[in-house]
């Protein structure tokens, strides 16, 4: 609960003539909304701040890639390497998995096991398909002699796209963990908080992929 929020709460709640002295003896959180924010809000907010720091880390990789995109050292450039059809399928997979992840979070809130587990399974399948396509792309590039050691451009490419791929891998493991925890422990408040954090993580990965397929693939393989 920020001081800003507390001040806004004061303005809304207390009119003229209120005993300011008595109010100053209360903790800030109580002055704002009558009671402190729930555990769910605090946990999700903390995780949101972590995700924003993760986005800042990605922006450093994006800046590196943008600076080095032309440094091909006589090797293949993006135009020679990127296959936009594969990238389109990857994008569709990740977008659909983001949607089914939203469905799963509604299912968890409504405590409908079929919806939750079905949508989580669909999310896993789409995410795994994305990862499979990306691994296939990487292996074919390395087989053609365009590995990360070929040029500064390719080093930056493999770092940026690979870092996103690592995040997706971690997300898939987390997804399976959440399905197992709901299966074993039910829709407890702490499990629901973890599901909320997972869905935030997964949607954020999709946002990073939007920036990625635009700057790396579409701008790199343009006409």
């Amino acid at each position: 609960m920020s001081a800003f929020e507390a001040a806004a709460g004061d303005g809304r709640r207390y009119g003229a003539g209120h005993d300011q002295g008595a109010e100053h003896r209360q903790p800030a959180a109580e002055r704002a909304g009558g009671k402190p924010a729930s555990r769910r809000v605090i946990v999700a907010y903390g995780f949101w701040v972590f995700l924003l720091s993760d986005i800042i880390m990605f922006s450093a990789f994006f800046a590196t890639y943008a600076v080095l995109a032309g440094a091909t050292a006589g090797g293949p450039s993006g135009r020679d390497l990127f296959d936009l059809r594969t990238v389109g399928i990857e994008t569709a997979c990740l977008l659909l998995s983001s949607f089914t992840c939203g469905v799963a979070s509604i299912g968890a809130r409504m405590r409908r096991g079929a919806w939750f587990h079905g949508a989580m399974a669909a999310t896993f399948i789409f995410g795994a398909a994305f990862l499979g396509l990306e691994v296939r792309e990487f292996t074919s590039m390395i087989a053609r002699g365009a590995g990360p050691g070929r040029s500064a451009f390719l080093s930056a490419f493999f770092t940026l796209v690979g870092c996103h791929g690592m995040h997706v891998t971690a997300g898939l493991l987390w997804l399976l963990t959440m399905m197992a925890q709901v299966f074993a422990k039910g829709y407890r408040a702490d499990i629901l908080r973890r599901i909320l954090c997972f869905s935030l993580f997964w949607h954020t990965l999709d946002i990073i992929w939007v920036a990625l397929f635009t700057t790396v693939y579409l701008m790199g393989a343009g006409p």
Binding site: E5, V43, F62, T64, D206, I207, V210, T214, L218
Partner: protein
């Protein structure tokens, strides 16, 4: 803690990032937001891929168009999937996001600006020698 206590929504002055609107909405209404998001995101993605390969658009404008489409799609994801709104219960989430965006912009423009100038200066040196 009981097995199925209600989610801690009631009386909150704030909304957790990622939470749908809590007050007694039905399944179909909640899923509507995700469906709208999916539709808009699909549309923007398809337009991006079309613009990247088409010859109908004036070529120098393509990177700008792609950037605008990408930023629009990120906005769609934030609003319809992560449910970041401008409501008073969302101020903290928006302020954190705003700070993150500021740092990202500083990092990107700063890096590109400095490295472009450096490359420019190095090129002059090459010609001088």
């Amino acid at each position: 803690m009981s097995q199925y206590e209600p989610i801690e929504y009631a009386g909150d002055a704030e909304t957790a990032p990622g939470d749908e609107a809590p007050d007694g909405r039905e399944f179909s209404e909640d899923i509507g937001s995700y469906l709208v998001g999916l539709g808009l995101a699909t549309m923007l993605t398809v337009v991006s891929f079309f613009v990247a390969r088409t010859t109908l658009v004036w070529e120098p404008s393509i990177p700008v168009a792609l950037a605008v489409l990408a930023i629009a799609q990120m906005g769609v994801h934030l609003v319809f999937f992560i449910h970041i709104t401008t409501g008073p219960d969302n101020i903290n989430n928006v302020m954190a996001l705003g700070f993150g965006v500021l740092i990202v912009l500083l990092l990107l423009t700063g890096s590109l600006w400095i490295m472009a100038h450096m490359n420019h200066n190095m090129m002059l040196m090459d010609h001088g020698m």
